[in-house]
């Protein structure tokens, strides 16, 4: 068992780190302050192929692997979690299900422009009344001739208004089982921005990842071509769950990056900050905290990379993804909270990045499956 990265992955990491330091970090504070989507950065990432890292070249991607993609989200999130989630949602939640379940025509039509970064992707499952309990969703799709007609709304959608292509999960039938219980059957659809009847609701004002475009999507007799059904009719729920397994690896990488970024700041700051005649890094309280954080972060990194490798080599990787996301998200929250404490009063001031990192960390415990859901997935496998 060798835990070291090979040379090409090391080189990819150095590329992502250099890009993040030069192009992303200088804008992070402004993106948070103005809540503006970092479109210029996305255009730069598009040029460099960051929007299709694990996608084969014949579909417009870079022909790399999940681990490389994970390291990209990690390095971006070290300096700006907003930028990290833009890449994560686009790659894991929109491109991946089309690559996995799409027809050749759908891959040609949608994956090529998405992977090359010409178009941006999003994924819409959550509804006002259906978060963790995704079965509670109400959005419906009915086949009318050669078109599906969608009605309903989706909320908290990442890349909401800036995306061009959306994966939308909707009910296509309701069946009754032997005991008379009704069951909703979901299907997945590919919806283009500009489809008739598709509009945007309110923009969410968030605690963290404030530059990411989080919107409500509204479907009012929204008509899309029949061929935009993704996968088999009625199989939308497993498609959504499998997509989220992959998404969780992306969010785990984002969380890992946030924690690493916060620790980097803490190391630099505690060496400079003097109290009682010496740097606070010379005090054992600080040293022990830094040590605990470093150990925890490395454990999170190993789980995240293991999940990335599982996605590359296994058909099912739900448990690996759940463990990685649970541990990395809780690490991000714990580390950023501790780092703010080490910074003292300055940690609470917006001029320093660490309060932003603490706000950004919180969402990683919530979206794409809360920490509670991850525990359900992990324990479910243990008790099966």
């Amino acid at each position: 068992m060798d835990f070291s990265l090979d040379k090409k992955h090391e080189m990819a990491r150095s590329l992502f780190r250099e890009f993040a330091e030069n192009e992303v970090k200088p804008l992070a504070q402004e993106v948070d302050e103005t809540e503006e989507f970092p479109m210029e950065t996305v255009k730069k990432m598009q040029k460099l192929g960051f929007m299709g890292i694990p996608v084969p070249k014949e579909y417009g991607g870079q022909g790399c692997d999940t681990l490389t993609y994970v390291m990209c989200v990690e390095e971006l999130s070290k300096v700006c979690a907003t930028t990290g989630v833009v890449v994560s949602a686009h790659t894991s939640l929109c491109i991946d299900p089309i690559m996995t379940y799409g027809t050749e025509e759908q891959k040609q039509k949608y994956v090529k422009p998405l992977a090359s970064g010409e178009k941006l992707g999003a994924f819409a499952l959550t509804e006002p009344g259906a978060g963790t309990d995704a079965q509670g969703a109400q959005t419906k799709a009915v086949l009318d001739g050669n078109e599906w007609v969608l009605n309903g709304s989706k909320c908290f959608i990442t890349n909401g208004k800036v995306a061009d292509v959306y994966i939308v999960i909707a009910i296509t039938s309701v069946t009754t089982d032997k005991r008379g219980r009704k069951k909703k059957n979901f299907s997945a659809f590919i919806v283009d921005k500009g489809a008739p009847g598709f509009s945007f609701g309110t923009k969410e004002k968030k605690m963290g990842i404030r530059g990411s475009s989080t919107y409500e999507l509204i479907f009012e007799d929204c008509r899309i071509p029949k061929e935009n059904l993704l996968g088999t009719e009625g199989k939308g729920f497993p498609i959504a769950m499998h997509t989220l397994d992959g998404g969780r690896i992306g969010i785990a990488s984002q969380a890992l990056g946030i924690a690493e970024g916060a620790l980097d700041r803490a190391i630099a700051y505690t060496k400079e900050r003097k109290q009682f005649g010496r740097s606070i890094a010379q005090q054992q309280n600080t040293q022990f905290k830094l040590a605990d954080m470093a150990a925890r972060i490395e454990a999170a990194q190993l789980l995240v990379y293991k999940a990335a490798m599982a996605k590359a080599t296994q058909r099912v990787y739900s448990v690996e993804a759940a463990k990685a996301k649970l541990f990395a998200a809780e690490t991000a929250m714990a580390v950023t909270t501790e780092v703010v404490q080490l910074f003292g009063g300055y940690g609470y001031i917006r001029e320093y990045d660490v309060e932003r990192m603490m706000r950004d960390a919180k969402i990683t415990e919530i979206y794409e499956g809360t920490s509670e859901v991850q525990r359900m997935v992990i324990s479910g496998a243990l008790l099966k």
Binding site: K7, K8, A12, L15, L48, G49, F50, Q62, G63
Partner: protein, 260 residues
């Protein structure tokens, strides 16, 4: 057009310079980067490739691990990489290095050779022009702009307060300044491709028309007495005075330190 770009893997001085007990650089302990002037030279070659169509070959002389810098260049867009490495080439000064590189380039077809002005570890700025001497080529150093016109290049050669515009018929050699351009990033796919490609490895036997007496430590007329890191100076003294007072102040200081 065929372009050969000579690049060097150098210690990343941002991470601090480390020395062996004998005073030489501890290269193994330091992170490495592509020498900045060389990277600008590579970027210039890649832009010429995009503009006029060209095959870009990158060449380096170094330890076997220097293949990393060639892969980085290929991940940016270079077509092939050649590593010149051999124990007998170790310890080379600028003379032995330029002799070696010229011996390697004699195996290649080229219209243009681009090198960096100088490497940040040695700072001699000698290797590029020496390669041109060995190959009997015209050289234009300190390039801040490069254009191709027919079978010639038009280069702006930088001076402190001006530039000269020089035209030279190809084949020729240009030494590039890091101010020449903003080098591109690698791409993730380019990195993966670069590791799928073979790097050509040449040793002493592959060098054309060179004498053993001009190679490696034995062939190096330069003897290094001692190497040291930059001595960090204090913040100095800052005074704000009008012109006359400034002159008087400086004269006073110079006299005090016996400079005048």
């Amino acid at each position: 057009m065929k372009i050969v770009v000579c690049i060097k893997q150098v210690p990343d001085t941002k991470g601090g310079v480390k020395f062996n007990p004998d005073g030489t650089l501890d290269r193994a302990a330091m992170l490495t980067i592509m020498n900045p002037d060389d990277k600008a030279g590579l970027e210039a070659a890649l832009r010429l490739k995009e503009q006029y169509g060209a095959e870009v070959t990158v060449l380096t002389m170094g330890l076997p691990k220097a293949d990393e810098v060639l892969r980085e260049a290929m991940a940016m867009g270079a077509d092939r990489g050649i590593l010149v490495t051999d124990r007998v080439l170790g310890g080379a000064d600028t003379w032995a290095t330029s002799t070696t590189i010229a011996g390697a380039i004699r195996n290649l077809e080229y219209d243009l050779i681009i090198t960096g002005r100088q490497a940040i570890d040695g700072d001699t700025a000698q290797v590029g022009p020496q390669i041109a001497e060995h190959l009997k080529l015209p050289v234009i150093s300190y390039a801040q702009d490069i254009k191709v016109e027919g079978d010639s290049v038009i280069v702006q050669r930088q001076y402190e307060d001006r530039y000269h515009e020089l035209k030279a018929k190809m084949p020729c050699l240009i030494t590039a300044l890091s101010e020449l351009n903003e080098p591109r990033y690698m791409t993730p796919g380019g990195i993966f491709d670069s590791y799928d490609k073979e790097v050509t490895v040449w040793g002493r036997a592959d060098l054309k028309d060179v004498d053993d007496s001009d190679l490696g430590l034995k062939g190096s007329p330069t003897k290094i007495a001692k190497a040291s890191d930059k001595v960090r100076k204090g913040a100095g003294e800052k005074v704000v005075l009008d012109t006359d007072e400034s002159v008087a102040y400086l004269i006073g200081k110079f006299k005090e330190k016996h400079i005048i």
